[in-house]
C-alpha cells in the first residue's frame, strides 16, 4: 500500500497522507485533483468498490471536509480521500460518472450540508427532508434544541432522574 501512496503522491501533489493499522490509508488532495484521483484509483489501482461519501463541518475554519472511501478487494485495502472546501463556495465536482451510487450520497449531502454538486442527477430533489426550507440541518450552526423548542409544542420535562447526574452518582460518586 505504501507504494500506491507514493505513486499517488507523485502524480497528484497530495497535501498529506497517512497509513493507519488495519489496512486504512488517508490521502488529502486539492478539490481540483479529486475526480482525476478517484478515476486513477478506480481504473489503475483497482479500488473498484466505492464505500461511502460523507461530509464534516469545520465551522471554526470556515471549511467543509468531504471524505471519499474506496476499497481494493484484491489487496483488501481501504483508502479515504479527504478534500477541504470553503463554506463560502460550498460546491464540488460530481463523481457519479465513476460510480452511479455516488449520486445518492451527493443528493443527501446537498440536502444536509448545502454542498452543491452541479450536474449530479436529481441532486436538488428532496431526499430525506421533504418540504424542508430552513438551513441545511447538519451544518454546525443549526441548533436542534432551539429548533425543536420553536417548532414543537412546549412540554414540561417528564419527572425522573437527569441521566447525567444519575450516571455520575452511580458510576463515579467520589469524583468532582
Amino acid at each position: 500500500m505504501k507504494e500506491i501512496l507514493e505513486r499517488i503522491n507523485q502524480q497528484f501533489n497530495c497535501i498529506g497522507h497517512e497509513f493507519q493499522p488495519e489496512n486504512l490509508s488517508w490521502v488529502q488532495v486539492d478539490k481540483k485533483q479529486l475526480v482525476p484521483l478517484l478515476s486513477y484509483l478506480k481504473h489503475t489501482e483497482k479500488f473498484t468498490h466505492f464505500v461511502l461519501l460523507t461530509a464534516v463541518d469545520w465551522i471554526e475554519n470556515n471549511e467543509f471536509q468531504l471524505n471519499y472511501l474506496l476499497t481494493n478487494h484484491t489487496l483488501h485495502q481501504d483508502i479515504a480521500i479527504r478534500v477541504m472546501i470553503s463554506r463560502d463556495e460550498a460546491e464540488m465536482e460530481t463523481a457519479h460518472h465513476l460510480w452511479q451510487q455516488i449520486a445518492t450520497y451527493q443528493r443527501e449531502i446537498y440536502e444536509m450540508y448545502g454542498i452543491d454538486f452541479p450536474s449530479s442527477p436529481r441532486v436538488h430533489e428532496s431526499f430525506l427532508l421533504e418540504g424542508w426550507d430552513g438551513i441545511p440541518p447538519m451544518r454546525r450552526e443549526f441548533d436542534t434544541k432551539k429548533y425543536s423548542e420553536e417548532t414543537f409544542f412546549p412540554r414540561p420535562r417528564p419527572e425522573g432522574k437527569d441521566p447525567q447526574t444519575h450516571m455520575k452518582q452511580k458510576l463515579y460518586p467520589n469524583e468532582e
Binding site: N23, W26, T48, H49, V51, T54, D78, Q101, P137, L171
Partner: protein, 396 residues
Amino acid sequence: MKNKLFNITPDRSKYPTIGKDGKPEIDLSSGKFVKIWQGPNHPGVTGNMSLELTLSGDEIVDAKTHVGYLHRGFEKLFERRKYIQCFPTSVRMCVPESDSNEYCLAVGTEKLAGIEVPDRAQWLRMLTLEMSRLQMLLRIVPGQGGTMGLGIGVQWGMYLRDLILDRFEELTGGRIYHMYILPGGVRGGLPDGFEARLEENLKDIEKFVHRIDNVLYQNAVFRKRAMGVGYLDPSWIDEYGVVGSNARAAGFKRDVRKDNPYLFYNQLNWEVPVKTESDIYTRARIRWYDLQVTIDLIRQILAKIPKTGDVRAKTPNVMHWKIPAGQTYVKSESSRGEFGFFMVSDGTDKPRRINLRGPSYTHAVSLLERMLINANISDVGALMVSLQTCPPEIER
C-alpha cells in the same frame, strides 16, 4: 433466461417510445400509464419507505425510492452527546440487527482513544455479533417466502428468533437493543448454563434449516417465481457498491470477516458461500447457507471462549472522557454485508461526526430503482426482500 433481469417478454408495441436519453417517454395523460405508490404502509415493502412506481400494464417503466418517513436525526444528535451517551441512540440506527451498530461505535472509540480490549471480551463480542446475525437470518430466510404468500416459514422463523432473543435477554437484559458492547469490552460474562441453553436453541434451529428447505426452497411456486427473476448483473456490483449476500450470489466472494479479519474470526474455520445465478432464488439460498454457517460459528465460539479473564478494559471516566482528535473507519460484516462507521473526533468529549455506512443505502435506493425497471408489479416485494433492504440505516 439468466441474462435478463426478469423472465417476461413484454409486448412493446403498446409501450412508450424510448427517448434519446434511453429512458421511456412517459405521458401520464395518454392513459397508457398509471402511477401508484407502494408504501410506506404496505405489506410488500420492507419497513418505512415507499416506491413511486409508474406502470404500463403490470410492468414498471419508472421507479423512484422515497425515504424520510423514519428520519430521526441520529447523526446530528451524536454531535451533542458524549460518546457513552451515543450508544443507546446508535443501536436504533439499524433496528433488526442492533449489535453491529454498538460494535462499530465501540471499536471506533477504542481506536481513536488507543484502548486495548481483553481477549475474553473480544470472544464475547463475536458471540453476540453471530447471535445477532442468526436472529436476523431467522427473519429474512423465511421472510423471502412471506413475500409470495408462503407464511408458514415466517411463523417458524419468528418463534425460533424469539428463542435467540431470550438468550439475549438473559445475557444483556434487552431483547432487541442490547448496549452490551461498550468501549473497552462488554458489560459482563456469560450467565451460568448459558452455553447449554444456547446449544438447545441451535438444535431447534437446525431442524428448522431442513424443514425450511423442503417448505420454501423445494416449493414449486417459490421456485417458479424466484428462479431467473430479479437478475443482478455482476457488472453492477461495483457500480452500485453491492455487498454481502447480494454480491456473493453474483459470484463475488466478499466477506469482511475473511477479507479484513477483525476480533478472532481468523481463528475460526468456515467457507464463505458463493453462487453465481444472481437471481432472487440464489440470494435467498445464499442466506440459507449463511444460516448454517452462523450456527457452526456460534458453536466454534462457544468451544473456544475463555471461561475466565477480564471482560472490560479500564477506561477514563466516561462522563468526562475526551477522545484524542482523529478520524477512523470501522467496518464489520452484518447479515446484509459491509456495515461501517466513519468517525471523526476533534479532541473534545463529544464526537465531531459519526456517519453510518449501511448496505441498504445503495441496495434500497440507487440499485433498487435500477432493478425495478421492467419488473412485474407482483415481483416488487420479493425483489426488495431479496436485496435485504433495511430503511432505518438509510435514514440515520
